[in-house]
Symmetry: C2
Subunit: 358 residues, 2 copies
């Protein structure tokens, strides 16, 4: 089974999420256009950002709910889960400004798209600056709409209030994780501990653990299940990010993947980099450090870096970590508190998220 | 009576707001430092942004509550009102990035402060870029914490849900207003209608009307008072912004004010500019347009522009608009639905917000 189809097996709510987001966007497009017609291009850019992606966070929130005994395809839960896509849209739009990225999911990043509109219209001032400003505001709208959609999901206000603990923690953690990530890049930190901490907050808690906690809280079983979902979510989230990082260095064997060496050119301080530096002799480590993030990195240099990752033992160590963490997550699905019909999907999600192609 | 003391007379909750924000920040500083000690400078920068300012939005929210019969200095209302300061902090931090502003309230803007830290530490990469990225994330934290503080204010979940209508509208409107403002600057639009629309959304609804609506909704009297507060809040908000714009051109006669001509150098498309252009001959209008926003604008040019604003009749028209709008707001305080003990403070707020020095 290809991993994307493995993911789609458990993403039974994917089309429901798409529908709920479309309904919310149509309503809010109307509100924006009442303020001014000129807001249409900003709304178009915003809607593009919530139209794509794997819907990972809603999927984990939904299975967190089902694992806590929540009803099959409950519409309130689908709306609450969908609201996490607006948070993710904010994170992506703002991260692309922060990292000065050109593209996102094969399309121009939001700030590039808005800069192009500025240039095409021949407006005064700096197109890049306009694009960045517009993207900051579009991301802000996404962040505000995330909790607006959550609060309007249809759950009773008391229930929503219970869900605020993981909902609020998730937002603080992803922003703190992103700040630490930015900090590690400029400080040139490349220790295992630093890499693991960023993965923990920016990926594991944000993508897996907190969405599961949210589902449990909305089903009023947070107390019983928070620990189980942490035991499942943290290792799975780290394994998932590590698999993604390996694909970012060695490329995706399927045709749709990233080009090999991409993350090395960008200079990302991943766990793979930390493992390589800590396992190499000082001359090799120094050369690796110098090449990392060089914008004009040659194919030969990428090949040399990849071979050091292999010969140092970092690749095997990371692959083995993925296996270990996946195993821990699988073991957590045996917990007796979990509803039986969620065990299979939660296991499938481990397999889908950690296999060698995405 | 000096205007600042007039404002403080009605800002009886100012020290309560300061206290509630300090309590919230102390708690959230602890949460951030648990994630990583390196988050301390970001938290310091964030706390600086919520420590200053006139507390206008909490003040209007509080008097909206009192005008709806809400209890004197209700702690829940003070917390809900204080949460608006986090929204304002997000708006300021992000606006300063968007406008590339150097200072805010006499201190370095957040992105400049964070850029300086990067430079002082000798970290790798671009200090400006790091500062902007950090400021985007600090603003995001403020935006997330605004609704977190609102939801944790202590009102019953049902009551909070009622307040979401103005709370949510306020956020969408200020972001849309800021986008339109950015758009007007680059398009060089300078019509009365465009300037009034930006003032309506970015100032009047955001600063006055929606906070009043929030207070009324939390007192469960939104239906009865929404119209009264709109009749009061929109004209007062426009008058307040117009007074601020006049001070931005002609300077503040008190010693603490802005330097004269500041807004002309920045090229702001205010109503004063629109009135001047629409009331001047084409040669004068063209020269005014060319000078507007020139970074090296001479003192002589500023003087010429100020004299055109006067001789064209734009100054008198704007002063007269401030009077008219203030009069409309004062008239709205006569409405029988308003609680009697709020009439005086609501009238004082009109006087304080629209007089010739701030």
């Amino acid at each position: 089974m290809a991993p994307s189809s493995a993911l789609s097996t458990v993403s039974v709510i994917r089309s429901d999420v798409d529908r709920e987001l479309s309904v919310f966007c149509a309503d809010h497009r109307g509100r924006l256009l009442e303020i001014g017609d000129e807001l249409a291009p900003a709304m178009d850019a915003l809607e593009t950002m919530v139209s794509g992606g794997k819907r990972l966070r809603p999927t984990f929130a939904y299975w967190g709910w089902r694992g806590a005994g929540g009803a099959d395809r409950d519409e309130r839960m689908i709306r609450a889960a969908s609201s996490l896509e607006f948070l993710q849209a904010c994170a992506l739009v703002h991260d692309d400004v922060i990292d000065n990225s050109d593209t996102r999911r094969g399309l121009p990043a939001t700030h590039r798209r808005m800069a192009k509109m500025h240039a095409d219209q021949g407006w005064s001032g700096d197109s890049e600056g306009f694009g960045q400003g517009a993207a900051i505001l579009i991301g802000d709208l996404c962040l505000a709409w995330s909790d607006e959609m959550y609060q309007a999901s249809g759950f009773a206000p008391d229930t929503l209030q219970r869900g605020r603990v993981p909902f609020d923690a998730m937002r603080t953690e992803v922003m703190a994780g992103q700040y630490l990530d930015t900090l590690e890049q400029v400080r040139g930190t490349a220790t295992r501990e630093a890499a693991l901490r960023v993965m923990r907050y920016k990926s594991a808690k944000y993508t897996v653990e907190r969405p599961l906690h949210l589902g449990a809280a909305l089903a009023d079983r947070y107390e019983e299940l928070a620990g189980v979902y942490t035991d499942y979510g943290i290792p799975l989230g780290i394994a998932f990010q590590l698999r993604d990082d390996l694909l970012g260095v060695f490329g995706d064997p399927t045709t749709t993947g990233k080009p090999a060496g991409d993350d090395l050119r960008e200079g990302k301080r991943t766990l793979i980099v930390a493992e390589t530096l800590e396992r190499s002799g000082s001359a090799d480590a120094e050369r690796f450090r110098e090449l990392l993030g060089a914008p004009d990195l040659s194919v030969a240099s990428v090949e040399w870096m990849c071979s050091l990752i292999e010969t140092s033992g970092a690749l095997a160590a990371c692959e083995s970590l993925v296996e270990d963490y996946a195993g821990q997550a699988l073991a957590a699905t045996e917990h007796p508190e979990l509803a039986d019909d969620a065990r299979g999907p939660l296991r499938d999600l481990v397999v889908a998220a950690t296999r060698r192609s995405h």
